[in-house]
């Protein structure tokens, strides 16, 4: 065991050295070759026009030398798989026989898939809106108070915690003991302190109190809200500080109260940032996997697309159906992706 560990650690160290050395060798080496064959150090020795020709040739080649390793990695690990997943979604379990749209038509008839779509929609509505709202409120409050920075640090902290770690933290909060026992989960302790009945929150399927709402999914969403609020807060706080002081002062002079300033001045001023935060969290939500996997693995009607995809890929080893689910997630991300690209292009144009 120790020998094996030693080997593991040395191989990691070795990998770092090799990889860095390879990068250095590639970049320096290719530059050296370029300088050697197209260098213009001895301009006098070159025939008329040769120096200019070499310069322009070098200008054409060197960007691609800079980009090559990154592009290679991106093509193999991201571009090719996107195309391949798309292709596989039209093939059978083992990716051998073409089956047309069978995987997709199966999907839309599948109960788990429908459940996932409903749940994902709920996640998409609730998590970004709650995270952004909490983040905004905390940012506004913290900027007014002397201990605001400490508060922000503490709210920001869950950003550093893994989804799995957060799941354990919240599973402990939701822990359920029988009615006659002491509750060790703080949520049930609060509920029983107010005279309520303790509940096993995670397995609570509808109907609950006569309502047809997936309460337990909501308790899972809280975990992601808890993590993402810090992100929203940091970005929005920076945007709030960008509002010119004169604008706020003018509003105050005109007799606006705090709430009017918040809703009529601040929010319109930072609307663009709110949208960015919202879309970023939306992407996180679409890909959310760890929380469901660790907490319920999709039981009790909490299934989501990413977990469903994992099941079809690694439990049932059906690459066709797994790919089809991945494509559905991709389609959901696509509008945001296109919007991002257009925005980036517009910015590029102004540079």
């Amino acid at each position: 065991m120790t020998a094996e560990l030693f080997q593991q650690i040395t191989s990691a160290a070795f990998a770092i050295v090799i990889a860095v050395a390879a990068c250095v060798a590639y970049f320096w080496g290719s530059n050296w070759l370029l300088e050697k064959f197209l260098g213009t150090q001895n301009v006098e020795a070159l025939p008329e026009g040769e120096a200019t020709r070499r310069d322009s040739l070098m200008g054409q080649i060197s960007p691609w030398l800079f980009l090559l390793p990154a592009l290679l990695f991106l093509s193999v690990y991201l571009v090719y798989p996107v195309v391949e997943t798309f292709r596989l979604s039209f093939f059978d379990k083992n990716g051998i026989n073409f089956v047309g749209f069978t995987n997709y038509s199966w999907l839309f008839g599948d109960n788990d898939f429908r459940q996932s779509i409903v749940n994902n929609l709920l996640w998409l509505i609730i998590v970004p809106s709650l995270s952004t709202a909490f983040g905004l409120v905390i940012a506004v409050l913290a900027d007014r108070l002397w201990w605001g920075n400490i508060a922000k640090s503490l709210v920001f902290m869950p950003m550093a915690i893994s989804f799995v770690g957060a799941s354990v933290i919240w599973k402990f909060v939701y822990d359920y003991r029988g009615e006659s026992d002491n509750q060790i989960g703080i949520l049930n302790a609060i509920v029983t302190a107010f005279g309520g009945e303790p509940q096993a929150w995670i397995t609570l399927t509808p109907p609950w109190l006569g309502m047809n709402i997936p309460v337990n999914s909501f308790f899972l969403m809280i975990i992601l809200v808890w993590i993402q609020t810090g992100f929203a807060m940091v970005i929005l706080s920076a945007a709030l500080r960008g509002i010119p002081e004169e604008t706020l002062e003018a509003a105050r002079v005109d007799g606006a109260n705090d709430f009017q300033i918040f809703f009529n001045i601040m929010i319109p001023q930072i609307w663009g940032t709110i949208v960015v935060v919202w879309t970023t969290i939306t992407i996180v939500v679409l890909k959310v996997f760890d929380i469901i996997f660790a907490m319920t693995n999709g039981q009790w009607d909490t299934e989501v697309l990413a977990n469903l995809m994992f099941k079809w890929m690694f439990v049932n080893f059906d690459y066709g159906r797994g790919s089809a689910i991945a494509i559905i997630i991709m389609i959901a991300v696509l509008p945001i992706m296109i919007w991002n690209i257009r925005r980036a292009n517009a910015e590029e144009g102004t540079r």
Partner: protein
């Protein structure tokens, strides 16, 4: 003039309403209370985990972590041994033992012989037994059952009791989870995965970012658009093709499957590249143009400008990205499960925690200590380098 006016303003509210309450700024007080409440909401879950992981495991199981400082009380029952365990001492027959078993620090509060009569006797007092003789139980749980004649019972009678567990904080849970549950091994695995996966992409991304920020060439806009697009491509799109690819390569080399550290390093490197290039490019594009142009006029090549000037200047952005990548790789579960597998000796901490959730789901002493070990490294990185982290976040989301 103004000074006088200010004074008048100062005095007026106090004069018109001389009681203390009117001077309190309710808006500000409300803000303090609201923020305090929100911060409590955000910190309590983690605090509960940390406190619980340090508590005695018997106490953790029966009382909430917010009561950690007060003694907890539990009811329990112990069956006494059979008659043949008795020994003869000075003409009397005796059975001795401890209700709590060995090695506990519980405190007996009361005991009785039926479940309905837990409070029948205080520590140190005696109760008559149905099988003959009397039993005396001390506060530390040690009992002495004394009778005039030899014990004949074949089924040991039960003693019911209420015991207090004094508050006790300990590192035992950590010792247990690290030694017996393979968490120490996973800790090393997590580092093995994370450090190379953080370092390898940096140089690659920096060169690419420079090309995209400062070199003019056809197709640049297209590549920038590609990178921005790849930023949000779900990982789920990559898993199946890459897994097949890895397995095919492994089979070609005669290996069983493609689950290696090398595989996961390269995968994480690639998955981190879009963000790395995007962040670094944004940062480099913000470096004043004059610096670069004067260097160009002096005849320096792009390579020299990049390695000599831009790379050192970009240190803050490189630091931001390294922190992101470190946290993301350390906290990742999906990529590790797909490309490294779920065998015990290859589990990273997140995977280990999930497997503990499955196998030890009710052993909160294991889960809380395990979870804290999982999150402690990112927390240190985060609090130590928060400045760079925030800067990176702000650069990563387009203004």
């Amino acid at each position: 003039m103004t000074a006088i006016a200010d004074r008048v303003d100062d005095v007026r509210p106090a004069a018109s309403a001389p009681n203390f309450l009117s001077r309190v700024d309710f808006g500000r007080l409300g803000a303090h209370i609201a923020l305090l409440f929100l911060v409590a909401l955000w910190t309590f879950p983690t605090a509960g985990l940390l406190v619980s992981s340090l508590r005695d495991k018997d106490q953790l199981a029966v009382s909430g972590w917010w009561t950690a400082l007060s003694a907890s009380v539990a009811q329990d029952v112990t069956r006494l041994p059979q008659g043949n365990a008795g020994t003869e001492e000075n003409g009397l027959w005796v059975i001795r033992g401890n209700l709590f078993g060995e090695d506990t620090n519980k405190q007996l509060q009361s005991f009785g012989l039926t479940a309905n009569d837990l409070g029948a006797a205080q520590p140190g007092s005696s109760l008559p037994m149905n099988d003959g003789g009397t039993i005396t139980v001390q506060a530390d749980g040690s009992y002495e059952w004394v009778a005039d004649a030899a014990f004949t019972h074949t089924r040991g009678p039960r003693v019911f009791y209420i015991a207090g567990i004094p508050p006790r904080f300990t590192l035992e849970n950590y010792a247990e989870v690290l030694s017996a549950n393979g968490v120490a091994r996973s800790f090393i695995n997590s580092f093995t995965v994370t450090i190379p996966a953080t370092i390898i992409p940096i140089l690659m991304a920096a060169f690419a970012a420079y090309a995209l920020a400062w070199m003019r060439f056809p197709g640049r806009g297209l590549i920038v658009a590609l990178i921005v697009g790849l930023l949000v491509v779900p990982l789920q799109m990559s898993l199946i093709p890459l897994l097949s690819l890895y397995n095919n390569i492994a089979h070609a080399f005669g290996a069983e499957d493609g689950k290696t550290y090398l595989g996961i390093w390269l995968a994480h490197t690639a998955f981190g590249l879009p963000l790395a290039i995007y962040l670094l490019r944004n940062y480099m594009a913000g470096i004043p143009k004059d610096i670069l142009e004067s260097a160009r006029i002096d005849g320096a090549s792009h390579f020299k400008i990049f390695t000599g000037m831009i790379l050192p200047l970009s240190f803050p952005a490189l630091a931001s990205f390294s922190i992101f990548q470190f946290l993301w790789v350390w906290n990742d579960l999906l990529v590790a499960m797909v490309f490294l597998g779920a065998q015990d000796e290859k589990l990273v901490l997140t995977g280990k925690l999930v497997s503990l959730l499955g196998s030890r789901g009710n052993n909160w002493e294991i889960l809380t200590a395990g979870a804290f070990i999982t999150i402690v490294v990112p927390l240190i990185v985060f609090f130590g380098l928060q400045r760079y982290f925030v800067r990176g976040l702000l650069a990563g989301s387009v203004k």
